[in-house]
């Protein structure tokens, strides 16, 4: 679905944000795009959605150059940016106006997700709080049934119960022909949701694996002391250490935060 080959990109006269970045992603996954502040997560999402122009032949989405913004491609992409500005209309009016553009829009699904998020369709969008607006946009995005959903920091502004509902509705709303990319620096919010992790650092993809592969290769544990030399990475935690080490057949839950910190601190992860 997404093919990125040797992508280099910079804003204006600034130095390259991406330098030879390559990435390939098929449908049927929920991908977590992780990176430090300024690593270029939002920029990469904008390039993928055609809001920024990528150098020729370096980026294809569903066989199209996204920057051409052909309507047939845009019907299959929904992007929720981190910051947004919604018109001063009721939710129902917005849905009526915007759902026209998405051929597989599912109004029943929208109604159900709005109920889950406790949002009333008669409310005016500009009267909603930041978090409520975000919940509405998430509901709308999922209801479009677009093949590619791109969510930039979707859990920012969501309260704790809403984060759990977010994970539930995203996991329960997708089909095998869809790809969801979630950019976030709040990795705890997307635990138990994403099934692939991409880590961006210094203009390159430094880690790109499925959670299944990660759990096969690595084990994550807490320990009171650092006893083994086989530890790949550790962090001080209350009461001891959080440790990442080769799995050696032991299956553990993946600690995404620890994995992310290991990746960006230069630990070689194969």
């Amino acid at each position: 679905m997404i093919e990125i080959t040797n992508l280099s990109f910079h804003y204006g006269k600034q130095k390259n944000l991406f330098d030879g970045l390559s990435l390939s992603e098929k449908s049927g996954s929920i991908v977590g795009l992780l990176g430090k502040n300024g690593a270029g997560k939002s920029t990469l999402l904008k390039l993928i959605t055609g809001l920024l122009e990528a150098p020729k032949d370096s980026l294809m989405v569903m066989g199209n150059v996204p920057f051409r913004r052909s309507p047939s491609l845009l019907e299959e992409i929904f992007f929720i940016p981190e910051e947004y500005d919604l018109p001063s209309v009721k939710i129902s009016e917005y849905v009526k106006a915007q759902s026209l553009f998405y051929p597989r829009f599912d109004l029943l699904k929208l109604d159900q997700i709005l109920v889950d998020f406790e949002l009333d369709k008669s409310r005016r969008l500009t009267k909603l709080s930041y978090g409520q607006k975000k919940k509405f946009l998430i509901a709308f995005a999922l209801s479009t049934n677009c093949k590619l959903l791109v969510l930039d920091e979707p859990t920012n502004g969501l309260d704790i119960p809403s984060k759990a509902i977010f994970r539930k509705v995203v996991a329960g709303s997708l089909s095998e022909d869809q790809l969801v990319i979630i950019s976030t620096h709040q990795v705890k919010d997307v635990e138990n949701l994403i099934d692939k992790i991409i880590v961006l650092d210094q203009g390159k993809v430094i880690f790109h694996q499925s959670l299944w592969e990660i759990s096969e290769k690595y084990a994550f544990a807490t320990a009171t002391n650092l006893d083994g030399s086989e530890n790949l990475y550790h962090e001080v935690a209350p009461g001891g250490f959080k440790v990442m080490k080769p799995a050696n057949g032991a299956a553990t839950d993946v600690d995404i935060e620890l994995l992310f910190n290991a990746a960006i601190s230069g630990v070689t992860l194969k």
């Binding site: 809001l51 122009e53 309507p71 910051e83 018109p87 009016e93 106006a97 026209l100 553009f101």
Partner: protein, 265 residues
């Protein structure tokens, strides 16, 4: 490239419905402001002028307000591009750049050109009624018939010169409004001010350049020197129409390509 990827009537219809339903309040405000502007201008022009207005007296006011309001009106095109967030949401809407451009052009330029004269006629006529009501002591009696000093506008005078004058007026207004319209695609903040400064700068530099060259090298082209004698009124109008059409085409084509290349930075 498939035609469907440039213009599709059904998709354009969806875009019109969708955009209209989410922006009708802003449009109502804009038209409301225009209505107030025309009415107040009409009243003020009569208040300031104690001489008796005939139907021709309205023409300078009509032409002045038409161009001023038209330029301002066109500068409110593409309101979604005034901030980054709205730009992103708008660019992700599944329509083509041509459809976006057409919608805005029809709404902010063509719509204005069609509706302004009608609105002006109605509002200035209403302003005449209001003025006459409040100044009923100024009734003039001519041949035994009582007459109020102010009369509503008639457009006969404007187009009395024939179709050419109408097309010249129409072409010139399209060209001028297109410049203001294109500025809204190019500039994010203060598009009208920036467009005026830019166009003014280009005109000043161009005029200055030619004046300098002609003056410096004493270039005297008899055709140019005697242009007023050699070109008839009809030819002059035809040249004006051709220039206006060319300028509009170039400006709109530029706006279209800028829109296609629009990024959400």
């Amino acid at each position: 490239m498939k035609t469907n990827q440039i213009f599709n009537f059904a998709r354009f219809g969806k875009y019109v419905r969708s955009t209209f339903s989410t922006t009708y309040k802003q449009n109502l405000l804009l038209w409301g402001a225009l209505t107030a502007f025309i009415f107040v201008s009409s009243l003020l022009s009569m208040a300031d002028n104690t001489s008796r207005w005939n139907t021709d007296g309205w023409m300078p006011l009509f032409i002045g307000t038409y161009f001023v309001a038209g330029i301002v009106f066109a500068s409110y095109s593409f309101p979604q591009f005034r901030n980054k967030e709205k730009t992103m949401m708008s660019l992700m809407t599944p329509v083509t750049s041509f459809e976006r451009l057409l919608y805005e052009f029809l709404g902010k330029v063509v719509g204005f050109i069609i509706l302004f004269p009608v609105l002006f006629y109605l509002l200035s006529s209403f302003a005449v009624v209001v003025r006459n009501v409040f100044q009923s002591n100024q009734v003039v009696t001519v041949n035994g018939i009582n007459s109020f000093p102010f009369h509503p506008i008639s457009f006969d005078r404007l187009f009395a010169g024939g179709d050419e004058l109408f097309w010249a007026f129409f072409g010139l207004s399209i060209a001028v409004f297109s410049l203001s319209f294109a500025g809204t695609v190019v500039f994010r903040k203060y598009p009208l001010v920036k467009t005026i400064v830019f166009v003014g700068g280009v005109l000043a530099v161009t005029a200055g350049y030619f004046v300098l060259i002609f003056e410096k090298f004493h270039l005297i082209n008899p055709w140019i020197s005697n242009v007023a004698d050699q070109v008839s009124k009809e030819q002059g109008i035809a040249i004006l129409i051709a220039l206006a059409a060319t300028m509009s085409l170039i400006t709109l084509a530029y706006a279209y390509f800028k829109l296609k290349e629009k990024e959400a930075q």
